[in-house]
Each structure stands twice: as structure tokens, then as C-alpha cells.
């Protein structure tokens, strides 16, 4: 059972891929400028889908800040939780 996706986990996941400390992750940064590539995004997508957020690569890749990512992820998580209920 994967760890539930929370803001803290989200930040930690990003930090891992950006070679930063979680506290140093700037959520307003553009994923492209932060140095992510498509493979890293695909890997994150797989991880977050496993945690119940039904997002696609294109949906993440077209967004221009990490905070937009979280917004999308939290919507999808809520949707999933709703669907489960």
C-alpha cells in the first residue's frame, strides 16, 4: 500500500527529484526551469497514480508551476475519495 499523497509527501517527492531539501522546494517554480525532464515527470506520475491521483503525463507537463500540480493532484485525490465513498 503506497503512502497516501499529502502536501508533505508531495514536497518530499519533488525534493527527491530536484536534489533539494523538502523545505527548499519552491512550489511556484516552473517544473521545466527546475530541471525536470519527461522521464522524471513520468516517474512521478506513476508514483502519484499509485497513490490514487488519476493524472496523466500531459496534464502535469502542460502546467507551469508545482503549485498548479498540487491543485490538480488534490482535485483528483478528492474525486477518488469521493468515488470510493
Amino acid at each position: 500500500m503506497p503512502e497516501p499523497l499529502t502536501p508533505t509527501v508531495f514536497r518530499a517527492d519533488l525534493a527527491e527529484f530536484l536534489h533539494q531539501q523538502p523545505d527548499d522546494v519552491d512550489l511556484e517554480e516552473n517544473p521545466l526551469s527546475a530541471g525536470l525532464d519527461s522521464l522524471r515527470i513520468v516517474t512521478l506520475v506513476e508514483r502519484w497514480r499509485a497513490a490514487g491521483a488519476d493524472v496523466s503525463f500531459v496534464e502535469l507537463a502542460e502546467r507551469t508551476s508545482f503549485s498548479q500540480w498540487w491543485q490538480l493532484l488534490s482535485e483528483r485525490l478528492a474525486g477518488a475519495a469521493h468515488g470510493d465513498a
Binding site: 527527491e16 530536484l18 536534489h19 516552473n30 517544473p31 521545466l32 526551469s33 527546475a34 530541471g35 525536470l36 525532464d37 519527461s38 522521464l39 522524471r40 515527470i41 513520468v42 516517474t43 503525463f57 500531459v58 507537463a61 502542460e62 502546467r63 507551469t64
Partner: protein, 1424 residues
């Protein structure tokens, strides 16, 4: 708001597309930019629904509904096209023996077809059923339209639409964005601060323009195909890789990048690698939802040294990526321009690593599928493509390679090497990647049959046991073994009396003869070592050697004593004063004692004394004696001067075998026949000759006239330099195995000879091995260089510096680290396990990225019949230009330099063809008889100024154009266009302009290969024989001017039903059809001028022409009037009266006659083709009657000049190179002027006219059919063109007559109403008909085609004349752009006249006819 492109609208290309377009222009006939993948659908598919889904999706993808055109300035534009005509290929292959193989073969064939961007479609689809419940959906698209991600978007949508169709649900929206939105985004980016920042990042990161290394030193233009090797990592291995990546805090792609970089380092040894990373370029972009081409390439620098571990490297790769990725939008092509890294051989990055993380999880109506890449586009060098396959299946690694640079073996080796390194580093991520592993091959000569015995013991034994046998003979004198040994002992005692003994060195300066042999033996018997000096050498040389060797005494004769004034000497011919002591000889030399010191000239010119011990000498003698099979009955000629080590072989092998040494007299070598006679007289059985002398001898004896090899000679040993393959072949042809011929190789440092090849046993022509090591010797080949190991090695150089002796060092890479001598010679191991000598490592010359061994070029030169000897040297000009110069000795009649180069071009890469070929009577040789390469290099340098001068005007034309396009004031002849900032597009423009100015073809690729004006001019000049002179075209232009007095009377006659029609060319291939058609369509009398002696003969010829094509004589044949005529003569040979009469009576002219010859010059065609038109126009003008000219589509410019062939008259253009084209163009031009003056003219351009379908007739004089007729029986067919228009003769006659009678005056008709037939299809059908044919490039076809058959000879001659003996590998450009035929189609609308398509059935009918009429053998019969 970005809207979809409107149909018919021209749009600029995206930057990525421009890059692809420019690349495509370098070789427009290349299919390299075709990318393709197939989706294996695991389940049943409804083909109808699938086709519907494909058509629906294709219509939704803007990027593929396009054509590409060029605007007036030469810039490419994208034209949105409606209703692209295309059909998917849907086939059920389940009945094939191996359906999947069949499917893949089909894909390979489809992929190999070039796409015409001007015409399209740029894509193709196929649905192939390979099992009852398995379908392969194949999707090909030109890279200019879609990139890999674009393909995936299309695939997803097809799956979606198909699924909806099957479920009968709404198809929904595609969700695709517009191309315009991508263009707008790109424009905004280019204007943004981000763009400036990105540019700053990259130009700074690459400011030092790092050296780019790869797995090969070679570079080549992109090939048309690529080699691919695929390996799948299993899930466990993939998991290990992922786990290690995670431990290292990187992704698996970083890990693969690091390993690839490390592998490049391992192979190249370079401290830095620059990888090419294809980047999706879509993050944060609207293009995430647009199927299009935006892919970019990131250059990734990775510094590496041998101590780095995988951990170090992945961290470095990851950091470099994080720094570079934010700037990934900046175009790679732009960066190359910024850095001036375009053209020539400049590179920004090396091998590619393409990571494909996108596993499409596509379901087709519920069925699972897997995606497989077929082609990822052109491969410049080497590319590692990594695909992450469906869940848990593991990674797939496909390594693609440019076949110009790698062969299958190289590729397999690299793939294996890469995998091994991957596995090693994943197993130990903290272990150093380790230094480059060099490949070492060891050849072992095997052990000596018995321990080597000291030479003095062997000779003493013969003296003791067979003392009466003659040991040495010279000039009528001889000594027995007993006498020789006895006198040598006496002399040894005289030396001993002077305190000469072990450890001392004695110079021997005695002319060849019995005394010399005695002196040598005496020195050895004294325990000292001998050092031979040439008694005839210049004083300075003698002094230098004495200084170097420091002999204790010099043994010489009174005659030479003066040379050694001031040195202690011992005179052979004068007794010493009695020293009063009784000297004693030491026991014979211990194996570590020196036996002799021989001098070689070092690379610095300072002589180096090579010290050979008794142990080395006896090891050599034992090994060589066994190898040569020397016996005591033998009589061995002593040929070599004593200061050559060949003399050691002759003297010691002979005396140790108890045989007889026959010393040659100095006059023996005055002439080769004299030498052979002397050998005969002396009953020589073994000849040991310097290779250079043997070359002369082999030449003489093989011609067989002047002299023969004496019957007594059973063995010839040669050595000293590389034997000429041509002489070896002559020798083998003369003697076969009857005379043993040993080719030897060996540096003095390894005691005379190290390897031997028995050339009488080897047979492959052109192959001259140096064989395998002697017993007791081992040869190690490392990185191509030869190392020798064994007891026969020298002790080292006398008194030499450590640097020199470093050549003798333990070979640590071999077990036991044996002492080895590094020869500096480059060799390779042949398939037979024997060595081949390639040249000196020092002579190796790098040019245009190629490592050139002059010997390879020499070997190629020597394959040319009249080339006898040659030497090739590399040279660096003061301006840094590197080039090769060939010095050639040729037999009369000597070939020209152009012949020589042409010959080489067929055998060698362009860079290896010498730019200078100099003929000479003899090659300079050093004092040791070897070719003096230094002297040759100097010669080349002296000559360079003259050689540099190229046609000034040509150079000027090139620089002027470039200056214009680059906005530069002045460009020098040696300025590199691309250094000056030239871009691909400009190169294309300049090539076009230059082509027009010079009235000849100038290919874009040539500008890249020859990036300075001087080089390009030289290249163009070398090809000048292929180009028409501008003057000739001027002549054509003059002929194409219609005289002022040819003016139709006004007004033109309105065409009512003609009563009399003049038809020329009624006896040709189209003529009979025109004739019957005119009879059918009109009530007119048809007057047919025919070349004949009488009216009866003229009528006969017409009847024959009809019969030949099985056309029944029409009922109204009485309306035909055949008139004897000759179109090449004034008044068409009819006489002025008859001509005037015709002018009065004819109501229309159909000028169809022409001499069709693709080989003849314009001058020989102008009367028949051009002047006849002029005469007929004059005749027609008198009453302004309609004039219809039958012309040819071959007057059109080639596709490279014009993407479209309009239905309009052409201005002069550079494509008019053949006489026939020129004559027909001039005819059209005349008709055009007449039309302008008011004559009702129509022009009908025909494509290839083929026989009427119902008869299946074939025009056997037609060019294509003659090519087929010669190629098919030989099993080979050439790549002539991509596609061409075919119209059957009966159809085209109907169309011409109808359009002539109804068309508006001045109209040009291109009779191309159907899509062209693709050559690939034609050849496929030929195959299916039952002929096994192989397609090949034209030049190879020309070479491979047997020249025996007449038809083959003619066709071959055509191509030879076409390319004018030039080097170009691609042959004539026979391809036209898109042929417009709107006038024809409109004119025939509603007439019921329609052209049957050229399909498989039609081609089969033609082939039937060919078989029936004997043009071709029936399938299955092979002509010999």
C-alpha cells in the same frame, strides 16, 4: 486565438521542421527521414472500422495534410492540402510461411521509399494480419511532419476512434491543438527574454567548442539507411538497473547516459564526451496536445577519467542535465549556427542516446497492444535508443548505426561492449569504470623443433664432418668448410692477439666475398661481435657509425685502409707484426654475448646500432631454417651487402645448414636477364632478394620473353618492403606452387625475419600477407600495432638513450608480461590468421576525419592495370589543409590523373582519394633501397603552388555568390563558408544559384563536403567533364530563336474540320497510334513524311510500323499519303515546290517526329529535332494553320531545381544537360515564340509512353525497357528514379489528337493524368512475376552489369556518358517534381478518354510480351 490552417494557405515551417527540411535537401531521394513504428494488436481487428478510424484521425492531424513548397527566395513553406489522396495497405498475411517476417519485410520496403515533400503524402499506414488474432498496425511518417511524441498522440487517437467505432459510440473530439498555436508560441519564445537567456547558457557552455569524439574516427554524411541491433533487458535486470539508479538518486536514463558516455571514453580514450540527447521539447508547451514536429536535441557534455565510478558519472550527468534542461527549448541547429559548427566535418555532439519513457497503453476495442519502433529517423553516427516497454517487460535497447561508419561486426561489438559495461557498472557502482580495454591478438609461431644450437657450433660441425664440401663460392673461387673454418680461426687468433675477445666489437669493412665471410666468422670465433661497415659508404656516414659503435678494431683490406686512418685496423691482406704471445680462443659465444651490431637509420636520421646476441641469432637461424626447409644440397645466392641484415640470413642459414653460399659478383645485377642467366650458370637453388629487386625480376619473368627463372631455383625469399599485389599475382600466375615464394617481414631489432608467408600457397588476388611468426616468435597485435616477442629479439640499441630502448618493454597485457619489441608497424590479422602489413604508424595520415594508411591507397592504385609502382604521402599545407599526393610510375599508354582518381573513387572513400596525382619515371629510394617518402613529401610541397591554382573564374563565381548571401564584403578562396556563418538554407540557395549560373548541376551536399571556394571549385572542375559547357547552352539558345520573318498572317484560321493534316513521325512508337487516331477523329487526308527512297517504300514503312504494334490497317487507310522525306534537310527533303504546295493545302500540322537518343549530342540532333520544327513553323505561318508539337516531359527541370512541372513554357534552366532535352526544349521555345506571334500552337509533353495495354507491347528501344532488358537477366536492377509518369501509346494518341483539336491556342499540355508509377512498385512486380532481382544504386549496377550483351553495353555506355566518368555516386537525376496536368484533365473531362493506371496487371502484360518476343528470358531461366 490560433485557428487551424486554411486549405491552400502557405505557412512558414517550425524551427524543428526547417532543420529537417534542410537535412532532407542534402539528399532528397533519401528515405532516411522516414520514421515508423508498428503497434501489435493482440486480438481481432475489424479492418473496415480500422480504415475508417485511420481516415478520421488523419483528417484531424493538420501536420500531415500538407505539402512543402519553396518560395521565390528558396525558403521552404508548408502548404495545407485538402483531401490528401492515400490508401492504407491492408493485407492478410496469415497464409505466409512466416507472417511476422513477411510483415516486417514489407515495412522495410515501405520505409525504404523516399517521400517527395513537394507532393506527399508524407505518411503511410498499413494493417497487416499476422495471426488469426494478431494485427500489426504500421504507421510511417516523414520526420518533418511528426516527431516521436507526435506519433504517440496520433496512435492514441486512432485507438480511441477505432474503439468508439466498434462500440458504435460517438467519436468525441481529438483534443488536438492547432499548428498555429505552436507557431505563435515559438514566435513568442524567440522574442522572449527566456530565449536570450537560453542562448547565453548554451553559447557559454560550449564556448570552447569541445572536441567531439565517437566510437570511430570517421565521419560521413547521413546515410540513406541505418543498421540496427536490438537487445531486450529482462525484467530482473531492468529492476536491478532501476534499483541502482534509485540508490544513486538518479533516474535510469541518467544511468544509461553515464554508461554510454563511459563507453565512448573507453573506446576513444578522450577525456570528455558530448552526447546527443533528443529532447521532447514540449514541457509547459501547447504542443503537448499537438501532433507535430518540435523535437530538439540537447548536447550533453560529460567529462570522464579512468578513476570515475558509475556513482561519480551519474552525479555528473544528472547535474549537467539539471543545468541544461531548463534551456531545452533553444534549438540545436541555432546553437550550431551560433557556434559556427555547420558544414564540413564540424560537430556539436557525438553519439545519440534517445530515451523513450512513453509506453503507450493503447487498447483497441479492448485488445491489448504493444508498440515497436521501426525507424527513429536518420542516424548520423551512432544512436542508442532505449524504450521502456509495457509494465514489467524491461528495457529494450536498440543501437542504430550509420552504415558509412560502422559495419555489422562493429555494431555488434559496440552493442556488446556497451552492455558489458552496463552490467559491470550496475554490479559495482563504486568501482572505477577503468581504462580503455584494448584488444590484443596474439599469433604464436610455435616452439622451435629442438633447442637452438649456437651458430659457431653448427658451422664447426660441418667443417669437422664434411670439411670438403664447398662452403663459399665467389667469382670462380671457392673454399671448403674446412678451409673456411681454418682460415677464420687463424684470423680469430690474430684478433685475440690484440686482446679482442668477448665484449669487444669489431668493425668489418670488407667487400662482399669469401674474405668477408671469413672475417665475420673470425670475429665471432674470437668471442667478439662484428659490426659490418659499407666500405663504399661516404666518409661522413662511416665516421658517424664508428662514433656510434666505437669498435675496438676495424677489419679491412689495404685498398680501404685509408678510410680508417686514425682508427685501429687489422688488414686481412697484410700480416701483423708477431705479438710474441700465443693467443687462445675462448669457448664459442654464450647466448647472452653479442654476435653483431647492425645499424638502422632512426627516424631522426641518427644511426642506431641494434645489438643482436648469439642467443637471438641462433634462435632466428633455427626458426628460419625450419620454415624455409633449407638443405645442405642448396646453393644460396649471397645478394645483400653485409650491412643489410638480409646478409645475416643468407650467410648463417646457409653455413649452419652445411649448404653452399654463392656470393654474387657486382656485375650480376646490371640487368635482370643477365642476373637470371648468371643464377642459371651458378645453379642457384635459393634466392634471397630485396623485395624492390624482386619486383623487377617478377615483372621480367612473368612477361616471359627476355629471360626465365632458372630451373634450379626452387625457393625465393623476399623482404624489405611491402610486395606489390600485382607482382605477386603475376608471379603466382607464372609459377603457381612450382617455386616457393616466401614473403618475409621483420625489423632488424627482431633479428632479420619475424614473420613469413608462403605466397605460393595463398591465392586470393590482391592479398599479400606477411604471414605468421617463425617458430620461437610470437606476434601481438594491439590497436593495430605489431609487437614482437621471443628469443630472437635484440638486446637493445647500442649506447642508446632510454627513450629508444623504451621500444623494448614488457607487455603487461599478456600473461607473464613478456619482453616485446614495439615495431611501429600497423598490421591486421586476416581471415586466414595471417598478418597483413598496413604501413608505418608514423606514416598514418589523418585527413577529413579518416585515418589513412598510404599503403591502402597504394594498394588501390595498383589495382589499376597500367600502374606499376606508386607511393602515396600525406601533406599538410601552410594553411593547415591536409591532403594526399600520389606518385605513380605507369606503363605506356599512361592513364591520366583524372583516370587514376576516377578509378580510386570506385574503391575508396572520397577523403582517401589523393588530390594530387603526379607521374614519374621512378620513385626516389633511400640508400637502403626503400621508397624515400621524405623526398616525396618535399616534392609535393614544391609543387603545391601550381596545384593550388584552380579555375579563377569558378572560384570567383563561388565567392561572389557566397559574399552576396552572407552579406560579406569579400570572401577568400580558402575561407570556410560555414565559419563565416553560413546556414543550411543559404547553402541550398547558393547551390541553386550556382547551378543556374554555371548551367550545370550543383548539389547542396557538395557545398557541405567542400566548404571553401577553392575546394568546391576543384571539385566542380574534376567533375567538369560531366557538365555541359555554358557555350553549348548558348548555342542551343541561339537555335531557339525564331527568325523575325516567321510570322503568321493574321488573323489565325479558326480551326474547323481539317481536310488535310501533316503528321510527322508516323513510323515511331506513338506515330502509328496518332495516325489511326487522326483517321478516326477527322475526315482529313493524312500526309506522312517518311524517310524513304520512294513513295512505295514510304507507304511500306507505315504499314510495317502499324503491324509492329499489332494495329490493324484502318479501313480508311486510303486517306494516308506517305511521302518520302528527310526532316534533317532543307524543305524537309521535299523540295521547295512540294513544301510550298503543302503550305497551301495543309490545315494542321502534327509535328511528332524526333530523333530520340539519350546519348547523342545536341549538335547531331538539332537538324532532326530543332530545325525541322523551325521549318514546319515557317510552313504553318504562311496560312496560320494550327501547329501541334509533340514534346517530352524531359525538358522539365529536375525536382531539385523545381518542385513542380507547370503546364507552361520553360525558360532556360540548368537541367538541360542532354542533347535530346536541349533539342526538344529549343523546339518548344520556337513554338512558344510562334504562339506569341499569333500562330495557334499547342504543345504536348509526354512522359514514358508504354505499349497499348491490350497488346502489352513494349518499346524495346525505350530507355527504361533497355535497362530492364539488360538488368533482369543479370538479376540486378538500378535505382534510377523514384517514380515517373507512364501513359500507354493508344491512350496518349487519343488525348493528343482530342486536345489538339479542342484546346485553346498557346496551351501546354503535360500528359501526366495519372499518379506516377513508383520504381519500387515496378521492381516489386518484376519480383512477383518471378524474376529474382536485387535493387542497387546505379553506380554499383553499372559495375556489376555484365558487359557482354549488346543491350547491356549500350545501356552501360549511356550511363558512363551520362555521368561523364565523374565520381558521383548517385548518378543522373532523372526525377521530376510534381507534374501538373490540369489542362489535360480539364480538356478531357467528359470525353470518356481516360488513362489506365500502370498497375501490377499491366506490368505483367508487358513482361509477358518481353518473354514472348525474346526481350527477356522466361522467369527461372538465367542467362549466363
Amino acid at each position: 486565438m490560433a485557428t487551424p490552417d486554411r486549405v491552400g494557405e502557405h505557412r512558414p515551417l517550425l524551427a524543428a521542421q526547417e532543420g529537417t527540411w534542410a537535412g532532407h535537401q542534402l539528399d532528397p531521394e533519401s528515405p532516411a527521414y522516414n520514421t515508423a513504428e508498428y503497434v501489435r494488436i493482440h486480438g481481432a481487428v475489424d479492418p473496415t472500422a480500422f480504415e475508417k478510424a485511420l481516415r478520421h484521425t488523419v483528417a484531424e492531424v493538420e501536420a500531415v495534410n500538407v505539402r512543402f513548397v519553396v518560395d521565390d527566395s528558396g525558403r521552404p513553406r508548408q502548404l495545407s492540402v485538402p483531401d490528401i489522396e492515400w490508401d492504407p495497405h491492408i493485407a492478410d498475411l496469415t497464409t505466409a510461411a512466416d507472417p511476422r517476417r513477411t510483415a516486417l519485410d514489407w515495412m522495410a520496403r515501405d520505409l525504404a521509399r523516399p517521400v517527395d515533400l513537394a507532393r506527399g503524402p508524407v505518411f503511410g499506414h498499413a494493417l497487416l494480419r499476422t495471426a488469426p488474432d494478431e494485427y500489426l498496425w504500421y504507421h510511417r511518417v516523414h520526420h518533418i511532419a511528426l516527431d516521436g511524441f507526435g506519433l504517440s498522440l496520433v496512435a492514441r487517437r486512432v485507438a480511441q476512434v477505432y474503439t468508439a467505432l466498434v462500440a458504435d459510440e460517438p467519436l468525441g473530439e481529438s483534443g488536438f491543438g492547432t499548428l498555429e498555436s505552436v507557431r505563435q508560441e515559438e514566435a513568442a519564445y524567440r522574442a522572449s527574454e527566456r530565449f536570450a537567456k537560453d542562448r547565453a547558457y548554451w553559447t557559454e557552455r560550449f564556448a570552447d567548442r569541445p572536441a567531439v569524439v565517437s566510437l570511430t574516427d570517421g565521419q560521413a554524411l547521413p546515410a540513406r539507411t541505418f543498421l540496427r541491433r536490438i537487445v531486450d533487458l529482462d525484467p530482473e535486470e531492468t529492476q536491478r538497473l532501476r534499483t541502482v539508479a534509485q540508490e544513486l538518486s538518479v533516474t535510469w536514463s541518467d544511468l544509461l547516459l553515464a554508461v554510454t558516455a563511459a563507453y565512448v571514453h573507453r573506446i576513444s580514450g578522450a577525456p570528455e564526451t558530448v552526447l546527443s540527447l533528443p529532447a521532447m521539447g514540449r514541457l509547459g508547451s501547447v504542443s503537448l496536445r499537438v501532433p507535430c514536429m518540435v523535437r530538439n536535441i540537447l548536447p550533453l557534455r560529460v567529462a570522464i577519467d579512468d578513476r570515475d565510478s558509475l556513482r561519480d558519472l551519474t552525479a555528473r550527468v544528472s547535474a549537467e542535465l539539471r543545468a541544461g534542461l531548463p534551456h531545452q527549448r533553444y534549438r540545436y541547429e541555432q546553437l550550431r549556427r551560433d557556434l559556427k559548427l555547420l558544414g564540413g566535418r564540424r560537430r556539436l555532439s557525438g553519439p545519440g542516446v534517445n530515451i523513450m519513457p512513453f509506453e503507450y497503453d493503447l487498447r483497441f476495442a479492448g485488445h491489448h497492444s504493444t508498440v515497436h519502433n521501426v525507424s527513429a529517423g536518420p542516424v548520423d553516427d551512432l544512436s542508442v535508443n532505449v524504450y521502456d516497454r509495457a509494465e514489467g517487460a524491461g528495457l529494450r535497447i536498440a543501437v542504430d548505426a550509420n552504415p558509412h561508419l560502422y559495419d555489422e561486426t562493429d555494431l555488434a561489438e559496440h552493442q556488446q561492449g556497451l552492455l558489458t559495461l552496463l552490467r559491470e557498472s550496475v554490479a559495482g557502482p563504486d568501482r572505477a569504470i577503468g581504462p580503455r580495454r584494448l584488444q590484443t591478438t596474439v599469433l604464436d609461431g610455435g616452439p622451435l623443433p629442438r633447442p637452438a644450437r649456437p651458430v659457431l657450433n653448427l658451422i664447426a660441425g660441418h667443417a669437422a664432418r664434411s670439411g670438403g664440401v664447398i662452403a663459399v663460392e665467389h667469382d670462380g673461387r671457392s673454399v671448403t668448410y674446412a678451409e673456411l673454418f681454418g682460415s677464420a680461426r687463424d684470423l680469430a687468433l690474430r684478433l685475440a692477439a690484440r686482446d679482442i675477445g668477448p665484449g669487444a666489437l669489431v668493425a668489418v669493412a670488407v667487400p662482399r666475398g669469401i674474405d668477408a665471410v671469413r672475417a665475420i666468422l673470425a670475429v665471432l670465433l674470437s668471442g667478439a661481435a662484428y659490426c659490418p661497415l659499407d666500405p663504399t659508404a661516404p666518409h661522413s656516414r662511416t665516421k658517424a657509425l664508428l662514433d656510434s659503435a666505437q669498435p675496438a678494431v676495424t677489419v679491412t683490406t689495404s685498398a680501404n685502409a685509408a678510410r680508417f686512418a686514425g682508427q685501429p685496423i687489422l688488414l686481412l691482406d697484410a700480416p701483423d707484426a708477431d705479438p710474441g704471445i700465443r693467443a687462445q680462443l675462448p669457448p664459442s659465444g654464450a647466448s647472452e654475448d653479442l654476435a653483431y651490431v647492425l645499424h638502422t637509420s632512426g627516424s631522426t636520421g641518427r644511426p642506431k646500432g641494434v645489438e643482436i646476441t648469439h642467443g637471438a641469432l641462433s634462435a632466428f637461424v633455427a626458426g628460419a631454417t625450419q620454415r624455409y626447409g633449407l638443405r645442405r644440397e642448396d646453393r644460396v645466392l649471397q645478394f645483400a651487402p653485409l650491412h643489410f641484415d638480409a646478409s645475416v640470413e643468407e650467410i648463417f642459414l646457409t653455413l649452419c645448414a652445411g649448404a653452399t653460399l654463392v656470393v654474387r659478383t657486382s656485375d650480376m645485377t646490371d640487368s635482370v636477364p643477365g642476373f637470371l642467366h648468371a643464377c642459371d650458370r651458378l645453379r642457384i637453388s635459393v634466392l634471397d632478394l630485396p623485395t624492390a629487386y624482386w619486383h623487377e625480376l617478377a615483372y621480367t619473368v612473368s612477361t616471359g620473353t627476355a629471360a626465365a627463372l632458372p630451373a634450379t631455383v626452387h625457393t625465393v625469399i623476399i623482404g624489405g618492403e611491402a610486395a606489390l599485389p600485382e607482382r605477386v599475382q603475376r608471379w603466382q600466375a607464372t609459377f603457381g606452387a612450382s617455386v616457393r615464394l616466401f614473403n618475409t617481414y621483420g625489423p632488424t631489432e627482431a633479428t632479420v625475419v619475424a614473420t613469413v608467408a608462403a605466397l605460393h600457397e595463398t591465392t586470393a588476388p590482391g592479398d599479400v600477407p606477411i604471414g605468421v611468426p617463425l617458430p620461437g616468435v610470437r606476434a601481438a597485435v594491439m590497436d593495430g600495432e605489431l609487437y614482437l616477442i621471443g628469443d630472437a629479439l635484440s638486446r637493445g640499441y647500442r649506447g642508446a638513450q632510454a627513450a629508444d630502448n623504451a621500444r623494448f618493454a614488457p607487455l603487461t597485457r599478456l600473461p607473464g608480461s613478456p619482453r616485446a619489441f614495439r615495431t611501429g608497424d600497423l598490421v591486421r590479422v586476416g581471415a586466414d590468421g595471417g598478418l597483413r602489413f598496413l604501413g608505418r604508424a608514423d606514416d598514418e595520415f589523418k585527413i577529413s576525419g579518416h585515418r589513412v594508411h598510404p599503403s591502402e591507397v597504394e594498394a588501390a592504385l595498383l589495382t589499376q592495370p597500367r600502374v606499376r609502382e606508386t607511393a602515396v604521402v600525406g601533406q599538410v599545407l601552410p594553411d593547415g589543409t591536409r591532403r594526399l599526393a600520389a606518385h605513380v610510375v605507369a606503363d605506356a599508354p599512361a592513364p591520366t590523373a583524372a583516370d587514376v582518381r576516377e578509378h580510386l573513387r570506385a574503391l575508396l572513400p572520397a577523403a582517401m582519394v589523393p588530390s594530387i596525382v603526379r607521374f614519374t619515371d621512378r620513385l626516389p629510394r633511400t640508400s637502403t633501397g626503400k621508397i624515400d617518402r621524405n623526398a616525396l613529401t618535399a616534392l609535393t610541397e614544391e609543387q603545391s603552388p601550381a596545384a593550388e591554382t584552380t579555375g579563377g573564374s569558378l572560384e570567383e563565381a563561388i565567392t561572389r555568390l557566397w559574399a552576396q548571401f552572407l552579406g560579406a564584403e569579400r570572401i577568400g578562396p580558402h575561407d570556410d563558408f560555414f565559419d563565416l556563418g553560413a546556414q543550411s538554407l543559404q547553402a541550398i540557395q547558393v547551390a541553386n544559384r550556382l547551378g543556374v549560373e554555371l548551367a550545370r548541376e550543383v548539389r547542396v551536399a557538395w557545398l557541405f563536403e567542400h566548404p571553401t571556394a577553392a575546394q568546391l571549385a576543384r571539385h566542380l572542375e574534376h567533375r567538369s567533364d560531366a557538365a555541359p559547357a555554358t557555350a553549348l547552352l548558348d548555342g542551343v539558345r541561339a537555335d531557339a530563336t525564331l527568325e523575325e520573318d516567321i510570322r503568321p498572317v493574321a488573323p489565325a484560321r479558326t480551326p474547323d474540320a481539317p481536310r488535310t493534316v501533316l503528321l510527322t513521325g508516323a513510323t515511331g512508337f506513338v506515330g502509328p497510334h496518332l495516325l489511326t487516331e487522326l483517321l478516326a477523329a477527322t475526315d482529313a487526308e493524312i500526309i506522312c513524311p517518311v524517310r524513304a527512297a520512294s513513295p512505295a517504300e514510304a507507304a511500306d514503312r507505315i504499314h510495317q510500323a502499324l503491324a509492329d504494334q499489332q494495329i490493324p490497317l484502318p479501313a480508311c487507310a486510303d486517306r494516308i499519303t506517305a511521302v518520302p522525306a528527310d526532316l534533317t534537310r532543307p524543305n524537309l527533303g521535299l523540295g521547295a515546290d512540294r513544301m510550298a504546295e503543302l503550305a497551301e493545302t495543309c490545315d494542321a500540322v502534327f509535328h511528332n517526329a524526333a530523333t530520340v537518343s539519350i546519348m547523342r549530342e545536341y549538335a547531331s540532333l538539332r537538324a532532326a529535332n530543332t530545325d525541322s520544327t523551325r521549318q514546319l513553323l515557317r510552313m504553318a505561318s504562311t496560312r496560320s494553320i494550327p501547329f501541334h508539337l509533340v514534346s517530352t516531359l524531359s525538358v522539365a527541370p529536375a525536382r531539385s531545381q523545381s518542385p513542380e512541372v507547370p503546364e507552361a513554357f520553360f525558360p532556360p534552366h540548368p537541367g538541360l544537360v542532354r542533347g535530346y532535352q536541349q533539342s526538344k526544349w529549343a523546339s518548344e521555345r520556337l513554338a512558344e515564340q510562334a504562339a506569341e506571334r499569333g500562330l495557334p500552337v499547342t504543345v504536348h509533353r509526354l512522359g514514358r509512353v508504354v505499349g497499348a495495354p491490350d497488346t502489352g507491347q513494349v518499346n524495346r528501344r525505350d530507355f527504361l525497357w533497355s535497362v530492364l532488358a539488360s538488368g533482369i537477366p543479370a538479376g540486378i536492377v538500378p535505382d534510377l528514379f523514384e517514380a515517373e509518369v507512364w501513359t500507354p501509346a493508344d491512350y496518349v494518341a487519343r488525348a493528343v489528337v482530342r486536345l489538339s483539336l479542342t484546346g485553346a491556342p498557346g496551351t501546354v499540355f503535360n500528359h501526366a493524368p495519372v499518379p506516377p508509377i513508383r520504381l519500387a512498385d515496378l521492381y516489386d512486380w518484376v519480383q512477383e512475376y518471378g524474376y529474382a532481382v536485387t535493387r542497387m544504386p546505379l553506380p554499383r549496377w553499372r559495375t556489376d552489369l555484365p558487359r557482354s550483351a549488346d543491350v547491356a553495353a549500350t545501356t552501360g555506355a549511356f550511363f558512363d556518358s551520362f555521368t561523364g566518368g565523374s565520381a558521383d555516386a548517385t548518378g543522373p537525376d532523372l526525377g521530376l517534381g510534381h507534374v501538373r496536368a490540369d489542362n489535360v484533365l480539364r480538356g478531357l473531362e467528359g470525353t470518356g478518354i481516360s488513362c489506365p493506371p500502370a498497375d501490377r496487371a499491366l506490368v505483367f502484360r508487358y513482361l509477358d510480351h518481353c518473354v514472348k518476343s525474346g526481350i527477356l528470358p522466361a522467369p527461372g531461366e538465367r542467362q549466363l
